[in-house]
Amino acid sequence: MRAVIAEDLYLLREGLSRLLEAHDFEIAAAVDTAPGLLAALLEHTPDVAVVDVRLPPTFTDDGLRAALDARRQLPGLPVLVLSQYVEQLYARELLADQAGAVGYLLKDRVFNDDQFVDAIRAVAGGGTVMDSEVVSKLLGRRSRDEPITRLTAREREVLELMAEGRSNSAIAQRLYISEKAVGKHSTNIFAKLDLAPSNDDNRRVLAVLAFLNS
């Protein structure tokens, strides 16, 4: 799998490269600026891009903008955005094109390399991975709103893990329930959120989106 890395801090960039190489990724390019990122994405069209939000030249959200720009030109280009902090606003912007294959994680998730690499693979496979902090805020704030109040506590837990990009089997393992039970819970969630039956992956993305855009 070919990856492009955009990170302005040398140590982190090298660390990410080594981590991905150790997990059988091929580093197509490792860049340190937003314009460099856009050029690299358009040139290499990698299987996945790992992008730091804050990049030169302005050190604000240049990385995010470059990633969104690239996705406008190459729809569905898998992008995992890393940041020192997470904002729902940015999560919404990433999810807005409804094409999936996006991730938004806190930088410290890199500490758990297995989960981190799983997340990258999930994004590369077209899934949606949102940081648990985004998800928990989302669920917390929606407490007085309509759709979420219809979910049971267990269904919320399932949705939370779903939004974090876990597969059904990972969710089952985490909650100590059977995979079949997870499937039942997700069907209930989709029903309660009025998501029309379609391909399961797409519905998972839409379930997360439904919240973010509600």
């Binding site: 020192q84 902090y85 729902q88 806190l106 704030r141 007085r144």
Partner: protein, 515 residues
Amino acid sequence: MAEHLVADGRRVGWFFAVLVALVCAWNMRIGNVGWPVVLEVAAVALVILWAPPSVRRAAPVALMLVGLTGILLTLSDKLASVAAQAAPGPRGGFVSAGDVVDGRAEAWHIVLLLQSMALLAAGVWLIWGKDRRLLPVPADPAATLARWARPRTLALLLPVAAATLLLLVDHGGAHPDWAGAALTAGLSLVVAWLFPAVGADLAAVAVIVLALWGTGDATAPPATIGAHNNGFPTVLTIGVDWRMALLGSVEAGAILAFGVWLVPRTIVPHARSVLRPEPDPELAGRVRQLTRTRADAVDTAAAELRRVERDLHDGAQARLVALGMNLRAAERLVATSPEAAIALIAEARQTSSKALTELRDLVRGIYPPVLADRGLADAVRALALDTPLRVETDIDLPGRADAPVESACYFAVAEALANAVKHSGGRVAQIRIRFTPDHPRSRKRPDPVPGLLRIEVTDNGAGGADPARGTGLHGIERRLATFDGILAVSSPPGGPTMIVMEVPCALSSPKTSTS
């Protein structure tokens, strides 16, 4: 050094005591006690003996002054006695008419002159002699003079000048009105003590009048004055000849010069401050307001820094210490008990995660990253998303305000929303932000700004919010006041609550928001 000076001062004091005794003895022998001189010398001697070292250090100057005065008095009395021989009559002065007539004045004058010159020489020796012990010559004489020319010091001239003037105006030395002079001096002293500035001004006027009066009489032809002379030299009361006129003019000139020197140091600055036009009340109010808000801003900033310091110290810093300790323990255990080491390392990883979380929260509290990235509009939208209420935003900003203004507005909205969540019990909040260029409130100021930023935060809760009660709203108000912003709260019981904030400011750079 101080001990040394005291010893020197004592020695000079004894010298004076001996001198006084000699003068008294001489005076008694010639049957004429020159009391004024004796008292003068005795006073200086006492001062030198008993005064604190700082005053004693001035002894040489006192010596010179006494010496100079003595020379001047002697010379003028000599002139007077010459005049008295020409026109005999009652006279004051320290050599009696009898002395003048019988010629003893000559000897007396010589003694006084020698004595005065000796005093002058002693002062000069003490100051400029090889030791220069008693009075260090000031490095900057002008500065020293300026230090003495303070209102309270200058005001002390008032009693002296006023009493002298009264004595002169009244009867001269012939029938001096001592009681009146004393009363005047006393009253003037009270004025000078209570109102040093006024006293100093009056003293300057009195000195000038004194000089003019003295000059007038001293230079008047003898015929017009006759037996009375109310002018300078003050010791004279009888007839005037050209030498008298010369001496009087010199004396008066010196006093006049002193009076003129006083004017720019007393009357002029006071007149300037009194005659200055009334300050513009609007401007004065603005200065007061700026002073207050500046103090508030500094306080707030200091408190923020303290909070950041405390948070770092108790949070991330402590976690990093724990992290280091865990890693060290793991290092030691890795050979003997790898499992325990792995557990410690896992714990270290969690600790570092917690440290990062704390740092993140801290940064968000200081300056939210999204505010830096996107500006007020998107930061408020992000805030709305993070708030556990349904928050509708209606924001239209054509540019970005200065970072401090953005920050103040952001935290104001955050506080208002937090209040809505905690206290209102409402389910929906609305935030409306607009910028009006050229708004009257932004133009009608001593320093006009391009426009007015208006923020409205409304919730459909129970109302009854009282800005006087909570510290939160008051904090917003103070924070906005730094930028001349205001806050108004409308929260009738039963709701809705509406908080309006207005901040005059400029917006710069084109719109960068993506939404």
